[in-house]
Amino acid sequence: MKNLSFIFVSGLLSVLLHAAEVIPQGRMVFYRGEKDAVVTVKVSGISSGKLTVTSPTGQAKNFTVNSDKVKIPLDTNLIPGKYQLRWNSGSDSGSIDFTIGPEYFTGFPICIWGDGFVSHRLYQSHGFTHAMRYRSTRYLLRTEKKFYETDTRELDESLADGFIHGDTFDIGCARWGFAAELKAKYPRISRYNSKLSGNINILDPQARHDLENAAFYLSKKLGSHPAYGIMNINSEVRDSTMPSFSKHDKKAWKKYSGMDIPELVNNKYAPYYTEIPGFPASRIVPDDDPLLKYYVWFWKHGDGWNEMNSRISQIYHRRIKHPFITVFDPAVRCPPIWGNGGNVDVLQHWTYVNPDPIRVIAAIDEVRAMAAEKKQKVYGMGQLFVYREHVAPAAAEKEYPAGRFDAIKNERYITTPPDMLRELIWAMMFRQIHGMMFHGTGTMFPMPQKGKYTLALPGTEKQLADTLLNQVKPLAPLVSTLPDRPARIAVFQSIASAIFAGRGSQGNESWPYVLHRILQYGGFDPHMIYEEQLLRDGWGEIKVLLLPHCDVLSASALKKLQEFQKAGGIIIADEFLMPALMPDLRLNSRTLMNGMSDKELTAAEKSVNPGNIAPKELSRKANLQRTGRQLAQKLQQFIQPLCSADDPDIITSSRSGGSGDYIFAVNDKRTYGDYLGIYGRIMEKGLPNSGKISISRPAAVVYNCLTGEETAAEFSKEQTVIPVSFTTNDGKALLLLNEKIGKVEISAPETASPGTVLDYQIRITGTSGKAVSCVLPFRMTVTYADGRVADIPEYAVTAQDGRYQSRISLPGNTPAGELIISVTTLPGKISGTAKITIK
């Protein structure tokens, strides 16, 4: 009896144990339209050797099971949501869950730099599309598995929501983990044969090999996941770079120059020119001066990091099949020499709101100057925090009057004032940028763990969300499409002055930035130009060059500048200009970097200071504005702004979209507020303002691109004058056209089937019936018959002929009935629809 029982139980177990099992492995989240998507399942107990799998749209497919794994091709063209594959082995059946996320995001990235390990949903709800953090290099530690599992889960969740995560390849100069090991192994060597504490000596072939291997390994780890889409490569690596004297370094320089490393090379810059024996008193450095040649080589090639970053970028691009962006920053924390960051896709700066948020335009212009060699893309980068020491006294210095401030007495990085943040973001849109990046999440959102960043002003994140969601997102396609106008007035940066006199901005608030702002306050729209660009491309349409801190010039730069003057160009310089060039005008940097005295301020200039708080900050800004206006007057006979405002606080920039012109304007009128302004070091609170913007072109209509409304203006043959008003530090995007927008026409087929491609065309015409020959921004929605809205980009722009062609890959489960394409222009709010019957 016992034996019979045993046989029965073991038979039952055998049946149970051999029940068919189909267990999914790997990624089960896909984006809509993902090509070559495969669900891999581990199978057991399938005695028939056959497996039938039925898709959510009812298509069945048979698979022969000849190993324990079956790969099931997946049609991902489904409306985003959760789905099941049904399987049947003959004896058993079951289902496999999977998720389809929205179509892959290839629009304008708005990225948080260092996400603080907070859910992507928080960022997404505030307008962010990407989040980046130190992620995969942790895999080089022994705890890889734990991190990898968490990361892939997070990437899955992000993909389902159409959000993209990023990473930092941070090995070049990091002080921990694998990076620290490499630094100890491959140090830079001083002339005195001591190890330097800077970055890795990447000219050592073995160091290159180790870093390349790390890139190969890490790109493989997460690179197959589509939600892994952006990578910052060796941020700040060049801050700690130094000339090195290992055999590799000496060999590389010798190969390049045929010389030994010049004796005076010790530091990352040459000794100050007055310390160099025999330095020309004329301060004209021959182009073949060994020190100049060495330092240009060092910053371009010689420390090895530009080439290394190119290589890492290349490795990731080769191994990752989906769209992937590589970034380097801060791209101008070095002398003004092309090449910083190597061939990464995007260069960006790091910029704070203080003292004047519009300084971000100078920062972007400087990165554009750096990117001009290879025409790389540029992102605008804003800090969400300010250094408390820059905007408030040290804790020990003064009693804090506001109780709220007690909480941040000893904090270093605190929330940026919201009005200034909005102004900074608007100012970024003055230029053609291809994305935005922000850093300092801990000063905006409560973090799981207290870090270095302090949320000092709750509520600022609402301001940020409003600006990103309601202003940046609609305008982003326009901002990234409209080309910048060629420079007519530019701030020049000299290599020789950077090398021999330590000049240059390093991306920080500095005299070149201040000059740039003076010009903006004067109504001009200045650019920055590097010496290399002037030598390669000439001055183009530039009429006026400003030469800050040109103590020393290379012979070729001097010659080019003299030619520029000879051709009628105007040079404005400061008290540092070397004597071999005669400036047409001279400004004094010392008086302009400081403010005026209280007595010198006019009543109008004082009017923004009702509390009569320390006037230093007020006078500093007033000084720049006054100088800008005076400069505009002095230059009137030679150059006039294409577009400017009658109020120095209204800053403008214009870009051509074809027959139409766009004006971006921002209000910089600010006073001391009650958050940080109480200490008189920052004017943080936006004030209402109004004025008139003039642009030297005729027009028939002016639109506000965000409200869509027509704006009243005075029209004449020579110019259009537009009255504008602002409630605080916000901005406007205005469009001038020669005729009003009349109609939106959408051409699309009358019927279509699910799973097919629907081609359509949009044509925007004027009241005359002709297509508007201008880039035009519009909002588009595609609504399915059941009321759901399709996951296509919400905002786009037409080409310069007013047309837009695109296609919708209709999901296989598109509901039958009427699909509606609705298009509304942002300027004018003119709408058009097309209805397509889905069979």
Partner: protein, 293 residues
């Protein structure tokens, strides 16, 4: 009298000319100078132009195109070179002339325009030399071993700050320089840790030490544990070399070959000029003489 009035009128008008006229005038000057092939008389006349930018540039062009005839003009201009623009141009072009001819004009110019920025034209430049330690000398292909270490005193070094950076001109490194008025400091701690607070800039250290009788050796180094940030070293009044890699050098050790400057069996005087640009500064790790074989 009329001439003076006329001159005053010209000066007044130049000062009040609208900016566009200033721009045009400077542009015209450049053009005219080129058209006249940088004629000597024309340029000399322009060195007295009321627009100081034109005058300054005329000086530069004069020296560039007529170097042989420029010195007398400079001598004349130096007597009234109160304007920094003019003074700088004179001082700059003077550098291309022999010191015997230039010195007097420079002195007079600086007397007229005592702008501190121009003291650099008066400055004797620091020496630059590398007494490479045998251990760092690529030409020396033998193994190097330290056969004896002689510790220098750690305390009672003479010390002074040099905020104007004039110590070199005052011969702080000379053997017979009297440093008794300098305070005493240890070289195992930064100067901030010894009461010299809130000072970043140049400072000097001096110390006397005795050496034993001559040893048979291949070389002698002076070994610095660390100097925050940069150091220039003299031994017995002779310049030995520097360790100057900027702020990154604050905790690096370094060696300089002192075989030629060292006096065996006698008293030696070591002088170190230190530059610190941020935070703590000074010689903060012991200094040793290392005898090499």
């Amino acid at each position: 009298m009329n001439k003076i009035l006329l001159l005053l009128c010209v000066i007044f008008l130049a000062g009040t000319l609208p900016a566009e006229n200033v721009i045009a005038a400077r542009r015209n000057f450049r053009q005219e100078a080129a058209e006249k092939s940088y004629d000597y008389q024309f340029l000399v006349r322009k060195t007295a132009d009321p627009d100081k930018e034109i005058a300054r540039y005329a000086i530069v062009l004069l020296a560039q195109h007529h170097p042989d005839k420029t010195l007398p003009v400079l001598r004349k201009l130096a007597a009234s070179a109160a304007d920094p623009l003019i003074a700088e141009a004179i001082l700059t072009v003077l550098a291309d002339y022999p010191e015997s001819e230039a010195a007097d004009i420079r002195r007079r110019t600086l007397a007229q325009c005592p702008d501190p920025r121009f003291q650099i034209f008066n400055k004797v430049r620091l020496p630059h030399r590398m007494n490479l330690s045998l251990r760092n000398d690529p030409a020396y292909d033998h193994a190097v071993t330290v056969i004896k270490k002689i510790k220098l005193p750690e305390n009672n070094w003479r010390f002074t700050t040099d905020p104007d950076d004039t110590g070199f001109l005052k011969n702080y490194f000379a053997v017979n320089f009297n440093d008794t008025a300098w305070r005493k400091l240890s070289v195992t701690k930064t100067w901030e840790e010894q009461g010299v607070t809130n000072y970043d800039g140049i400072a000097w250290y001096r110390v006397k030490f005795n050496m034993p009788g001559k040893m048979d050796c291949a070389g002698v180094d002076i070994a610095f544990g660390a100097v925050d940030e940069s150091a220039w070293v003299w031994l017995n009044g002779k310049y030995v070399g520097q360790h100057d890699i900027g702020p990154a050098g604050w905790d690096s050790s370094f060696y300089l070959n002192i075989a030629s400057e060292l006096k065996w069996g006698k008293e030696n005087i070591l002088t170190v000029r230190v530059k610190d640009t941020a935070a703590a500064g000074g010689i903060w790790k012991p200094v040793t003489i290392e005898v090499l074989q």
